[in-house]
């Protein structure tokens, strides 16, 4: 038993279990579903015995940071190949907001307001479309592509709300009694002894914002286990700490990111969209921003945009761009009169296989998005994450059956071997260079994706990925020729003194129309947090977002972390330099981690933002 430095009398307790899982998402869902089914024999007797509680089933515990297991933040379209294998009788109707894919469209959106920053090549394409609009499938200032590349198609797949899917999976798991899932329990860090992961430490409770003990101080327990299953996603603290400790395999890096922001909408009465419809958009509000819309049963749709790390705009406010996107005539004709139900945001690790960490080590294994499962060619992640969990569970069952320890060697032989031999690995190999071209812009990116997709990965152009912080221009550079440096400086001074971000002022100066709030779909950022995300946070935890070197923030001219912050949780410090963080608004999207324009002084692969786990965030299970 150890004690903390700050308050020796408050002992840090220790608890022993058999297997710890960090983060409850599709990967952990796949892992626990497979494992829990194998824990009891057909006659109901235990198949395995706990090492820490002899006579009982192995103690398997999953810690989830969010306040409920359904507070995930994704609407997805997935082939659901692996999910269907786990649930052979899978019926989409059993899960709310789930439907089979019935129709898929890719739509190129032209710029109806004239403010989008389009390269000459994009402008040429736009003009060509307008010129030939009489013979093209052009309407509502958009062109529906007549053909969808097979690698993007999710025919026979499903659209679902990950929030609802997680709840459905979680309820079945809890009912099995074989595993336990504890939401509202942030993990502080992995416990690493001699390069062996021995468990995790839970976050301290009863502290002030700086983490100093206060009344009711309860040090987070050390939870020890023979195996720690790391499924806490791309911005999860355990996975990121392991990356920092062990590094990434030679040549791998995580430099491609995107933040996906979405809303769930009750479509207006009479809306013609049919359940199962999937619409992908590109071209607007900026060519770098892609959009999606999935139509669920009962007149509900999930829609939103992705803002990628290679979108070199220091004013890349996802929320503001989403407001312009939904008002594009092609979408607005379906949405006008609809009502917001839910809202959320999430970072996506877009390096895919090239961001793959060491998958296993002594005492741990990595699954899901944080382990590089996302297929960046097919834009698919959920089924891949689920499959990685299933593969790890099969490996763990094998090791339990043989009574072998969870060493790196044994996990390599069982889990990694399975993964390398599976479709998950072969498909991700094909995809690994699919996004490279976007490093050089939208058109090159589209070209290289098509090239990789059509040749099944045989042909590609290996553009080197820049670190996100190496590519952020200043507002002056970005708006050169549109807004003068003096004007930007004036706006910066005015906004900063009030603790406000710059993007609204600068975007409007650059021609983006003012947003006319209607209180239904168009509303202030603050209102969407409350009305859509139902964002809330309890006190008693330390701030989970901190800034490593405040001097870097003090001299930062972009403060891009404040512009992209999905929840307006990071804002310019109105009382001086740098930024301030308000935990009560954070939705844990993690966009600040990879958007920060300042390199970490100790490790240039990281930024100046430190992002840990904390309680609270979104309280909507519909995303």
């Amino acid at each position: 038993m150890t004690t903390t430095d700050q308050q020796p009398e408050a002992a840090r307790q220790e608890m022993q279990v058999d297997i710890i899982c960090t983060g409850f998402g599709p990967a952990t869902g796949g892992f626990l579903t497979t494992l829990s089914r194998a824990m009891t024999k057909e006659d109901g007797t235990p198949a395995f015995e706990s090492k820490v509680m002899p006579g009982m089933l192995p103690q398997v515990i999953c810690y989830e940071r969010a306040d409920d297991i359904g507070f995930g933040v994704s609407g997805v379209v997935t082939k659901a190949k692996s999910i269907r294998e786990s649930f052979p009788d899978f019926d989409p109707a059993a899960i709310p907001m789930t439907h089979e894919v019935t129709e898929e469209k890719v739509v190129y959106l032209l710029d109806p307001v004239g403010a989008s920053r389009r390269s000459w090549l994009v402008k040429v394409a736009d003009n060509a479309i307008k010129l030939f609009k009489w013979i093209l499938p052009y309407r509502h200032q958009a062109m529906e592509l007549p053909w969808m590349p097979p690698f993007l198609q999710k025919h026979k797949g499903i659209i679902t709300s990950i929030g609802q899917f997680n709840q459905w999976v979680g309820n079945q798991l809890m009912m099995s009694g074989a595993v336990q899932i504890w939401p509202g329990t942030p993990v502080a860090k992995p416990l690493i002894e001699d390069n062996k992961v021995t468990g995790v430490q839970l976050a301290d409770q009863g502290t002030d914002k700086q983490g100093n003990p206060e009344a009711g101080y309860t040090p987070g327990m050390d939870i020890k286990a023979a195996l720690t299953v790391v499924g806490d996603g791309p911005v999860g603290v355990v996975g990121r700490d392991l990356d920092l400790h062990f590094g990434l395999p030679e040549g791998n890096h995580i430099r491609d990111w995107a933040v996906g922001m979405k809303m769930v909408v009750d479509l207006p009465a009479g809306c013609e969209l049919k359940p199962g419809t999937v619409i992908h958009t590109l071209g607007y509000p900026e060519p770098e921003i892609f959009g999606f819309m999935y139509v669920y049963p009962d007149g509900v749709a999930s829609l939103g945009i992705f803002v990628p790390s290679w979108f070199d705009n220091p004013m890349r406010s996802t929320y503001r761009y989403m407001q312009h996107w939904i008002q594009h005539p092609y979408l607005w004709r379906h949405l006008e009169g609809g009502t917001l139900r839910s809202w959320g945001a999430k970072s996506l690790q877009e390096s895919g296989r090239r961001g793959e960490p060491f998958l296993v080590g002594d005492g741990y294994a990595r699954i899901g998005e944080g382990s590089g499962t996302t297929n960046v060619l097919t834009n698919s992640g959920v089924d891949e994450a689920w499959e990685s969990g299933v593969q790890l569970a099969d490996a763990v069952i094998e090791l339990l059956e043989k009574d072998k320890p969870f060493t790196k060697e044994n996990l390599d032989e069982t889990y990694v071997k399975r993964r390398r031999a599976s479709w998950l690995d072969s498909e991700s190999r094909i995809a690994q260079h699919a996004r490279d071209g976007f490093q050089k812009g939208f058109i090159t990116g589209m070209f290289t994706t098509a090239l990789v997709g059509m040749t099944k990965g045989k042909l590609f152009i290996p553009f080197k990925a820049k670190r996100p912080h190496d590519r952020i221009p200043t507002p002056e550079e970005y708006y050169k020729g549109r807004i003068s440096a003096e004007e930007i400086d004036q706006i910066r001074k005015e906004c900063r003194s009030k603790g406000l971000t710059l993007h609204d002022r600068l975007m409007e100066k650059a021609g983006w129309p003012e947003i006319k709030n209607d209180g239904q779909l168009l509303m202030s950022h603050q209102d969407i947090l409350l009305m859509g995300g139902k964002v809330q946070a309890t006190g008693n935890y330390a701030d989970h977002v901190t800034f490593v070197d405040p001097r870097s923030c003090a001299q930062c001219q972009t403060l891009i972390c404040t512009e992209i912050c999905s929840g307006q949780a990071i804002a310019p410090n109105p009382e001086g330099l740098g930024v301030v963080f308000d935990r009560e608004k954070c939705v844990y999207c993690g966009a600040c981690i990879w958007s920060c324009s300042e390199a970490n002084k100790d490790n240039p692969e990281y930024s100046n933002v430190s992002f840990r786990a904390g309680a609270g965030g979104l309280h909507s299970a519909e995303n």
Partner: protein, 269 residues
């Protein structure tokens, strides 16, 4: 002879506070729109009652806490994943409707029946806890009726504090008008205490307590009897959301003196 209390906390589940609520009428009667999709939490006042119960049980030896709840099993299970980590209790669950449109008297009958069935419960040591009102029906009636059904004639509502005195008597503070508290002394159990917020902060999450509780919670949920709670006595003529959207006049860039004067005029007007 044992002197500890047997504390039974009645607590329902309600939608998490920031959720958007809309009543809808269907073949099963009134319900909330997307009721099963709304994140739920333990009723706030009843949660306080549970924390107070756990605190009392910790301070009075040989005491025990049961949590009796009525709600759709899947939802109760979800809520238990959080609540089980807070304080030790034994769950008694009834699987049935738990929205605000059911009848308090019917709910009370089901709860009283479940409490009567708790093995080892000593009614002479019983303290029946709960919230003084729910955040759903807000009837403020259920707990009193459960108490009556269990034959308890000492009842307190809007309780903010209980202190056990040296002679074993309970000193109880109840909210009354004007921000005051009425102080009563009740010589012994059994008693009903409908809690307001009390004075205890929410306990931290504790995995050890969670694991200990879960061993009994899952079996309790698995055997939760299906319980029909209806509204047979109530005939709703309508349930609607108020339309209170105002045309807000925004006064901006106006000197403070002018604003102050306008406010004073309005206050005096």
């Amino acid at each position: 002879m044992s002197t500890g209390f047997h504390i039974v906390v009645c607590a329902g589940i309600v939608p998490d506070p920031l959720q958007t609520l809309e009543p809808v009428s269907g073949p099963q009667g009134w319900a909330l729109k997307n009721e099963m999709m709304l994140p739920a939490c333990l009723d706030p006042w009843a949660s306080h009652a549970l924390f107070e119960a756990a605190n009392l049980a910790k301070n009075v030896s040989d005491s025990k806490v049961w949590l009796v709840t009525l709600g759709p099993k899947a939802k109760v299970q979800q809520v238990m994943m959080t609540m089980a980590q807070k304080v030790p209790f034994e769950l008694v669950a009834l699987d049935g409707a738990a929205n605000g449109f059911t009848d308090a008297a019917e709910t009370a009958a089901a709860l009283a029946n479940a409490i009567e069935g708790i093995a080892g419960l000593d009614k002479s040591r019983l303290l029946l806890f709960g919230g003084w009102e729910s955040a759903s029906r807000g009837a403020g009636a259920t707990l009193q009726i459960v108490g009556e059904r269990l034959g308890i004639t000492e009842q307190f509502q809007g309780v903010d504090q209980i202190t056990i005195k040296d002679n074993g008597a309970m000193e109880i503070l109840e909210r009354v008008e004007g921000g005051s508290h009425q102080v009563s002394e009740c010589s012994s159990a059994p008693a009903v205490l409908g809690w307001a917020t009390g004075n205890l902060p929410e306990p931290p999450n504790n995995s050890q307590i969670g694991m200990q509780n879960m061993r009994l919670i899952m079996p309790a949920l698995q055997k939760a009897p299906a319980t029909k709670i209806g509204t047979a006595d109530i005939a709703y003529k309508g349930i609607e959301l108020p339309k209170q959207q105002r045309n807000t006049r925004i006064v901006k860039d106006v000197p403070v003196e002018e604003i102050a004067r306008e406010i004073v005029d309005w206050l005096r007007g």
